[in-house]
């Protein structure tokens, strides 16, 4: 037992160290790239920021000049970037150029929205896709398997925008069960999360089915059956655990694309999330918010990969390299 724990610890520490190094590198790179890309965009940043602040009825030369003076936009580019990096080193993300609110607070608010939406969508997608995939795997090429194939193809083919509108029409307009838009109360997350989840569930069902079929044919599962374990126990103890090793990294990849790909769904359902923040920050040249949002997304990718590594380590029944040697 002691040997196993030691091996587990060094595995975990290795994962954490490697990922922490990655996180710092990614942070600096992403933030600097963001800054450079925004500098290259056409248009005068002071005017864009003024338009974001005051709206199109009030944006004019005076407002833009005032913004330029207030924010020191005349400073050379390298100094603006250096100032930002220095502040970041001290844990300060700065203030939004448009709303003058603290960026950490603002991005935190949108991040929470995206995480809520993403988490609910992921749970729904895994539950729906996993269940369909497992059911389909019970009899490969059977009727149910073919039906699931049909489901996979049709939900992959539906763009989220259209699927979202369909869901609104059915559940909100015709049945009147769920609010079409909104953010804050528990029910309003259902439609946007379902839109994302239904789209994702197809792939989950496909991958689950293939993995489960493959594992069911493997020798250790045959052995478990031979030694007299019931079908349910075999599924839970041997098939699903092994399937998890393949599926968890896959869920990780999907989680990353999910968080980056919620822009359309967020805007359709009026959900306040990072996608919304990013689009506005680009439109208004709100560089600190853009940098922080991109930074958070990059760190999120690193974070999710770390969790995937750790969960994989925990799930994988095969002993790890050094543990076997020692």
């Amino acid at each position: 037992m002691g040997i196993v724990t030691g091996a587990g610890f060094s595995g975990v520490a290795g994962v954490l160290l490697r990922r922490a190094g990655q996180a710092v590198g990614v942070a600096v790179l992403v933030a600097s790239l963001c800054f450079l890309v925004v500098r290259q965009l056409p248009g005068d940043a002071a005017f864009r920021i003024a338009a974001g602040r005051y709206g199109y009825d009030l944006v004019d030369q005076q407002a833009a000049d005032a913004v330029r003076a207030e924010l020191g936009l005349d400073r050379p580019a390298w100094r603006q970037l250096a100032d930002w990096l220095l502040a970041l080193g001290q844990g300060d993300l700065g203030t939004s150029l448009v709303t003058s609110a603290s960026v950490a607070q603002e991005v935190g608010y949108y991040l929470l929205g995206t995480l809520q939406l993403g988490a609910v969508a992921l749970v729904l997608a895994v539950a729906l896709g996993g269940a369909l995939g497992t059911l389909a795997a019970r009899r490969p090429n059977g009727l149910l398997d073919r039906a699931v194939d049909g489901w996979v193809a049709s939900v992959r083919a539906l763009p989220p925008f259209l699927l979202g509108l369909l869901l609104i029409l059915v559940f909100s307009v015709h049945l009147g069960w769920l609010p079409a838009v909104g953010h804050g109360d528990g029910v309003s997350v259902v439609l946007p999360a379902s839109t994302l989840a239904i789209g994702l569930s197809g792939l989950f069902a496909r991958v689950t089915r293939d993995t489960v079929v493959e594992i069911q044919r493997s020798e250790h599962v045959r052995f478990a059956r031979t030694k007299g374990l019931g079908a349910r126990l075999v599924l839970v103890r041997h098939v699903l655990r092994n399937a998890g090793v393949v599926l968890v990294p896959y869920v990780g990849v999907q989680a990353v694309t999910l968080i980056e790909g919620v822009v359309v769904v967020e805007s359709l359902f009026g959900w306040q999330g990072l996608g919304h923040a990013l689009v506005h920050a680009v439109f208004w040249r709100d560089v600190p918010v853009l940098q922080a949002a991109a930074l958070v997304l990059a760190l999120l990718v690193v974070g999710i990969n770390t969790i995937v590594d750790l969960v994989g380590l925990w799930l994988d029944p095969r002993p790890r390299g050094r543990a076997v040697v020692s």
Partner: protein, 517 residues
């Protein structure tokens, strides 16, 4: 809705997602129940609670009040100040404050508090108050006195603008507004920027108590989503519907459309120093080539919104009923362009000395009809051999390209009465040195004289003559080519009575609405 019901709804959705049939629920029992909260939805997001940056949401929700207010016709009426007087030389104004009135945090409304708010507004470059010739703003007993460098009769009108609201000292933290503590009939209950604001009736309001106790505002960016909310009883008042959404509301029993002609004109700003556009014949040809009625019908779904002149009829003092209306005449346009030396080329685009008659039209998507209108203009001008590139970009590109002189044509939606008195906007629009959202490189001595005259204050007959001079010369020389007028609309639930629409968008007058019995 109970917790169990919510869970049931979630489970039902999941089951339906798997393709199984689910029993139908009774309509109106779940998401659509309104309790006693009036739900308002609109496209406007709020990025900050600072008055100038709030897009006027807090005056629309009647949380904060300006010293002066206006009625539905745009005439001034008392706001927080019941009475104001102008000194004999017109260089000092005194605004009385009511006795015994408190802010929402129960602190008294004092002249000092009002002075602090107004000084903050006058220091804000985006506020119209910063353009007024103010010498000093000071407390004078229980009143606020504003001293001016020169007479400025429009001052009370400027003080109707939402950037000049009076807030309690507790609203400020280190000079910035961090919360909105006003004096209106509603007080803030919760603000979740940028999309949600909830207000509740303020019991200490000095006037009549509103019938509706609570209002929640939700910003919804997509017009499709807003239309669905209106017809499925998920919002009681929905602002800014597109033509297709309006049609859906018209066909439904849940809501009715309310609209009012706004003092806003959709127009093309013309760079008068552009080598092509400095020629009056070219400008007139561009104007003649536009079939405004068809465009208004196709894009705004209302033929009557085709502009016949710059000032819409809702600005009755400025609209000139006798002015020769803008006409559509392709042949005349062709003849003018021929005369100006632009000969038809082989590819259908006119040219002069080898240079094609090509123009860039800059516009922005904040008002959804603008890009559609821009492409319609592109198609109309192609008919007379003018090639137009449409550039849909950020709204700030119009002032930015004005500043660096690269703008040729800009399609914009100009609010002509930002501060109730259209003179303030008109003076800025026709400023001799040019204006970001007005003329570019155009000066006309008669117009300048008329504006000076109006700004200094004159008798009504002379003022009317001055306004006619401005409107007529603008129509003749076309430094701004009017395209269409604008109608603001809202879908109002049949549950709501007494909703009225302010064409100036200053307030939504929800304190006067009530639940239908």
């Amino acid at each position: 809705m109970t917790r169990m019901k919510r869970i049931a709804v979630v489970i039902a959705t999941v089951i339906c997602g798997t393709g199984c049939a689910a029993p139908a629920a009774e309509r109106g029992s779940g998401a659509n129940s309104h309790d006693d909260v009036l739900r308002v939805a609109g496209p406007f997001e709020v990025h900050s609670v600072a008055p100038a940056e709030s897009s006027g949401l807090f005056t629309r929700l009647e949380v904060a009040e300006t010293l002066v207010s206006s009625d539905l016709e745009g005439d001034l009426e008392p706001g927080l100040s019941a009475d104001w007087t102008e000194s004999a030389d017109g260089r000092s104004w005194t605004f009385e404050l009511p006795d015994g009135v408190t802010f929402h945090d129960d602190t008294p409304v004092t002249a000092e508090a009002a002075v602090e708010s107004l000084q903050a507004a006058s220091a804000e470059a985006a506020s119209p108050l910063s353009a007024a010739p103010i010498d000093a703003i000071a407390a004078d007993g229980d009143a606020v006195r504003i001293d001016l460098d020169k007479p400025y009769p429009s001052l009370p009108a400027v003080l109707t603008h939402y950037s000049t609201v009076v807030l309690a000292p507790g609203s400020y933290d280190e000079g910035r507004v961090t919360q909105v503590i006003g004096t209106g009939p509603y007080e803030i209950e919760e603000v979740e920027l940028p999309a949600r604001v909830e207000v509740t009736r303020f019991d200490g309001f000095r006037g009549d108590a509103p019938a509706i106790e609570r209002i929640s505002f939700q910003a919804v960016a997509r017009a499709e989503s807003r239309a669905l909310m209106a017809i499925s009883d998920q919002a009681d008042v929905v602002f800014g519907l597109e033509p297709s959404g309006r049609q859906r509301v018209d066909e439904s029993d849940a809501a009715t459309m309310v609209s009012s002609l706004q003092p806003r004109s959709l127009m093309m700003k013309v760079n008068m120093q552009d080598p092509i556009l400095e020629d009056a014949r070219v400008r007139e040809a561009l104007s003649l080539a536009l079939d405004r009625e068809s465009m208004a019908d196709a894009v705004l779904r209302e033929e009557d919104l085709a502009a016949t002149q710059l000032f819409p009829p809702s600005l009755s003092a400025w609209n000139q009923p006798d002015l020769e209306p803008l006409d559509h005449d392709e042949e005349a346009a062709d003849a003018l362009l021929d005369e100006a030396g632009w000969q038809e080329g082989a590819d259908g685009v006119r040219a002069k000395g080898g240079d094609p008659l090509q123009l860039t039209l800059t516009t922005y998507p904040d008002r959804p009809e603008l890009p559609a209108l821009a492409t319609a203009i592109q198609a109309e001008l192609k008919e007379v051999g003018v090639a137009v590139d449409v550039d849909v970009t950020n709204s700030s590109e119009i002032p930015a390209r004005h500043a660096d002189g690269t703008l040729q044509l800009g399609l914009l939606a100009k609010h002509l009465a930002l501060v109730t008195d259209p003179l303030v906007t008109a003076a800025e629009t026709f400023a001799e040195q040019g204006s970001d959202w007005g003329v570019m490189g155009w000066r006309n001595d008669e117009v300048a004289e008329a504006i000076d005259d109006l700004e200094e204050g004159t008798d009504e007959a002379t003022a009317a003559a001055d306004r006619a001079v401005i409107a007529t010369l603008a129509q003749q020389e076309l430094p701004l080519i009017p395209v269409a007028w604008y109608r603001m609309n809202a879908a109002v639930s049949t549950h709501v009575d007494g909703f009225v629409m302010d064409p100036l968008e200053r307030t939504w007058h929800l304190s006067q609405a009530s639940w239908a019995s």
